[in-house]
């Protein structure tokens, strides 16, 4: 007998649940996770090298985990700061998931770690969908990437708690239009802070560390509009409860050969 069953389950429910557990567990032991997202080559590693060094100078117990498809180059660079660093090789996977992070932290993360920086795989699409249990999600863009980057990758920029512009030392050379960039960020994520940094010249040095520490101390973190969907309304949306006739997909984008009528 063919049966139509309503499930109403979030596809990423398992990742979200793992992320919640991870966040609660880490928070209880005094560790705050910062998830860094950007395109490949935006300067996540360079920024992090500088911030980790500053943390070391300030005797702050921090650690970093960096994910790449291949090579340990980033871990080697970050380890020069002297803080605990771990390289995760994803073997081709384009993003980190909460369970993967959890696995890699077990037996490695020092107990007294105050801030854990996670350098996600360089990719502005896929990592945006996965909560890693972070308390601060930072999205970076270098001045060379074009002012419309936030509009091209609205999910990544729209869910950021903080946006960081990198490589400002070459902003003039590439004619970076800061006002246009800020306006584009504002369109997809109203109210989010935009930090200007140059790892080479030191602009904004320590700012990321300060924001991370504030989040760790419980200061309110920006709440992106895109992360707030009215739950009450969500369940009254006509697409959610299709009504008694589950075969009427006339108003939906149905795949080729929509559901057969023989199912009852």
């Amino acid at each position: 007998m063919c049966r139509a069953v309503d499930l109403h389950q979030a596809v990423l429910a398992k990742n979200d649940a793992t992320a919640h557990t991870l966040r609660a567990g880490l928070t209880a032991r005094g560790t705050t996770v910062i998830n860094l997202l950007s395109s490949p080559g935006s300067g996540k590693t360079a920024l992090l090298e500088r911030e980790l060094l500053l943390a070391r100078e300030r005797a702050l117990p921090v650690a970093a985990l960096t994910a790449d498809l291949a090579t340990e180059n980033d871990a080697v660079r970050l380890a020069r700061s002297g803080v605990p660093v771990k390289q995760v090789l994803t073997d081709g996977l384009c993003h980190l998931e909460a369970a993967m992070l959890h696995r890699h932290l077990e037996g490695w993360l020092p107990d007294d770690t105050r801030l854990l920086f996670v350098e996600n795989v360089g990719n502005l699409v896929c990592p945006a969908s996965y909560d890693l249990g972070e308390s601060l999600r930072v999205v970076l863009a270098s001045v060379t990437e074009g002012e419309d980057k936030p509009l091209k990758y609205p999910t990544a920029f729209g869910l950021a708690h903080l946006v960081v512009v990198t490589k400002t030392d070459i902003a003039d050379a590439v004619e970076f239009d800061e006002a246009a960039f800020r306006a584009n960020v504002e369109q997809v994520n109203p109210g989010v802070e935009v930090l200007l940094t140059s790892a080479r010249r030191g602009q904004g040095a320590g700012a990321l560390l300060d924001r991370a520490l504030a989040a760790a101390d419980g200061a309110p973190v920006h709440a992106p509009v895109m992360s707030r969907q009215d739950a009450a309304r969500e369940h009254t949306h006509p697409h959610v409860h299709a009504g008694p006739d589950h075969h009427d997909h006339a108003d939906h984008h149905a795949g080729p050969g929509a559901m057969t009528q023989t199912c009852s």
């Binding site: 609205p154 707030r228 009215d230």
Partner: protein, 131 residues
């Protein structure tokens, strides 16, 4: 492309739901709601879904995706609008940022059609008088 991970998550969840229900012999179709702002490409997902279903209870199952448009509202203006892509999250009337999205972030398994055998004979719990 993370659509493969999404497809595997969908298959896993439907398999678990089928196991909970018991007696499911095959899954014919899965209805998935994909919000405009969910960051998932339905075509890529359909391709991956077929691969992810291979060798599972969902082998041959059809993925029916329902696109959910992104909508936002402004409480003071009592206005609601389609945010479009890239999304406009400020009220077209007063310019202030919306409080929350009405829809568009969905990535949800709405329902399934599956084949099952005759209903199980559940063991009846004894009522108080029988104890």
């Amino acid at each position: 492309m993370h659509e493969m991970s999404i497809a595997v998550a969908v298959v896993g969840q439907v398999e678990e739901a089928a196991e909970r229900a018991g007696g499911v012999t095959a899954v014919r179709s899965v209805r998935l709601q994909v919000g405009e702002l969910a960051g998932v490409v339905p075509d890529a997902l359909s391709f991956c879904f077929e691969l992810a279903c291979a060798g599972t209870l969902l082998e041959g199952a059809e993925l029916v995706t329902e696109a959910v448009p992104g909508r936002a509202r402004c409480a003071p203006c009592a206005d609601e609008w389609a945010v479009g892509m890239p999304p406009r999250l400020c009220c077209p009337r007063c310019g202030t940022a919306t409080d929350a999205l009405v829809s568009g972030r969905e990535l949800q398994i709405a329902g399934v059609h599956w084949e099952d055998g005759p209903p199980h004979e559940h063991t009846r719990e004894p009522i108080l008088e029988e104890r």
